[in-house]
């Protein structure tokens, strides 16, 4: 099949468009999270989105409309648990994550027949994305990107040295809350691309790849975004021609790029 024919399919166009926007978000936020040693927040919040999507299906609502606010609340809980319960971030993520999964499983066991729908979210299917979901994904992505652009310097300063950021008058608590909320929305959107099980790969791998090569923070951010978009486009294309699951293929392309950047760093530079 000619490439132009392939590109003329509506579902491929929708997957490319929504996937690219979500990939850019994941890459940029992922860089902040990886550098703050919060990489696993994506994993934790995606597990919460499992419970939230189950609740949406259980109540008969569009799952993402339930998942977005619930995952935002969960991200706030992670912050508050770390602050108030005097436990480390990874433990807080573990608690919220476990409750999310347990809630999802309980709701699935109480349900009458939505298990197939619920389990389809585990591995995602970007090729099945609807026009409504594309609109939601692109709209939210643009809003999140604008927020990141406006808060860029404060996010950078807080990530590099939170104590110094505070001394320069930055409200680091508010910045941390903003980062968590943005991550929560992004995680829910990324569930559609790669599924609950693989969301953290979308956040971690492009950032990890960029960190092998980048010569500056802005450069790392741009590089991570390019890697993420390339992985999504290549992953969707390969999955279509090779009849493979799109989410897993996107993650494997991401991983191969990481290995390549690691080898280049090791042997060329």
């Amino acid at each position: 099949m000619a490439l132009l024919d392939f590109l003329s399919y509506g579902f491929i166009q929708r997957a490319y468009l929504a996937g690219s926007f979500i990939a850019v978000l994941c890459a940029i936020l992922g860089l902040f999270l990886v550098l703050r040693k919060l990489s696993l927040i994506g994993d934790g919040l995606s597990h919460v989105s499992f419970g939230a999507i189950a609740l949406g299906l259980f109540l008969g609502f569009y799952p993402f409309y339930v998942a977005i606010p619930l995952v935002i609340v969960a991200s706030y809980l992670v912050l508050k648990l770390t602050e108030k319960a005097k436990i480390y971030g990874d433990a807080a993520i573990g608690i919220v994550s476990a409750v999310g999964i347990a809630g999802g499983v309980l709701l699935a066991s109480l349900s009458n027949g939505f298990n197939v729908d619920l389990f389809s979210y585990l591995f995602g299917n970007i090729l099945a994305i609807s026009s409504q979901e594309v609109f939601l994904s692109v709209g939210l992505s643009v809003v999140i990107l604008l927020v990141i652009i406006f808060l860029y310097n404060d996010l950078f300063s807080t990530t590099f040295d939170e104590q110094f950021a505070k001394i320069t008058g930055i409200n680091t608590k508010r910045i941390n809350v903003a980062l968590m909320f943005l991550t929560a929305i992004t995680v829910v959107l990324a569930v559609k691309v790669v599924g609950i099980m693989l969301v953290s790969a979308m956040l971690i791998l492009p950032a990890a790849t960029a960190l092998q090569m980048a010569k500056g923070f802005k450069a790392a951010m741009i590089m991570a975004a390019i890697v993420a978009v390339f992985s999504v486009l290549a992953g969707i294309t390969i999955s279509f021609y090779a009849d493979l699951p799109a989410g897993a293929t996107v993650v494997m392309v991401n991983f191969l790029l990481f290995v390549l950047s690691f080898l280049i760093k090791k042997f060329v530079r």
């Binding site: 300063s157 590099f160 040295d161 001394i167 320069t168 008058g169």
Partner: protein, 250 residues
């Protein structure tokens, strides 16, 4: 002389452990003050309280004549934290990007760098003789170079008060000497008020004009020569060390 920092009856506790008790002193414009004391004396805590990093204290703090509760002119204060090497060495930030962070205190929302900010960053790097490193990653620099980068970050907004927390701990003797001569230049040429936290009471006497010796409360505050004559010094150092330290400066 105008007062830059005034502290009255300051007390602070971590949970039930009292770290500072009834601390009072004032620092004037252009002073060069060494803040010394034994381990656990509360030196770093005092600085953290002054900089607004700890806020459950009792007493009064006035910075540039304003109560610290509502103080928001953070661009007037530069800070070099202890253990600058504790930052993530894998962080892909260039020297220029890190130094630029020091300017955020002078910016209002939305914070964007202008051409004059870029010039300011370059001038500060030149002042510290590290302009050639501007595009290097901070994590790839030596300890001494990193120290200078963080000092540039503290200086780039032209602070009137500069607080340095044990700045010479990670430095070799030569770099340390260079560092203190830079601090002296800042104090004399740019009239920056300096507070340097140090463990090295013996060494700092040759640089700082005043010594604030702290042990949960102010034990001594005055010039180093007077400290040498004081019974407080004999109590904390013993007569032999007192003689050795003070002999270096006579």
């Amino acid at each position: 002389m105008s007062i830059v920092l005034s502290i009255r009856n300051l007390s602070f506790s971590y949970d039930s452990t009292e770290v500072l008790s009834g601390v009072s002193f004032a620092i004037g414009k252009g002073d060069y003050v060494a803040l010394a004391g034994p381990n656990g004396a509360g030196k770093t805590t005092l600085v953290r309280v002054i900089l607004g990093l700890e806020n459950k204290y009792e007493g009064t703090i006035e910075i540039f004549g304003k109560d610290s509760e509502g103080f928001n002119e953070w661009g007037r204060i530069g800070y070099l934290p202890q253990q600058v090497n504790a930052f993530n060495p894998l962080f892909p930030a260039t020297v220029k990007e890190v130094v630029g962070l020091g300017l955020l205190s002078r910016m209002s929302f939305p914070k964007k760098f202008t051409r004059s900010d870029e010039t300011k960053i370059l001038k500060t790097l030149e002042f510290m003789d590290i302009a050639a490193l501007k595009d290097k990653l901070v994590g790839e620099l030596s300890g001494g170079q990193q120290q200078r980068v963080f000092l540039c970050r503290a200086l780039v907004a032209d602070p009137e008060l500069l607080v340095l927390d044990e700045p010479s701990t990670a430095l070799d003797p030569q770099t340390r000497e260079h560092f203190f001569s830079l601090a002296e230049r800042l104090n004399k040429d740019k009239k920056v008020t300096l507070i340097i936290i140090t463990h090295d009471t013996a060494d700092i006497g040759q640089y700082a004009g005043k010594l604030l010796y702290l042990d949960k409360q102010v034990v001594f505050y005055g010039c180093f020569a007077d400290f040498c004559q004081s019974k407080e010094m004999e109590k904390y150092f013993g007569p032999f060390s007192q003689h050795l330290i003070c002999h270096q400066h006579t």
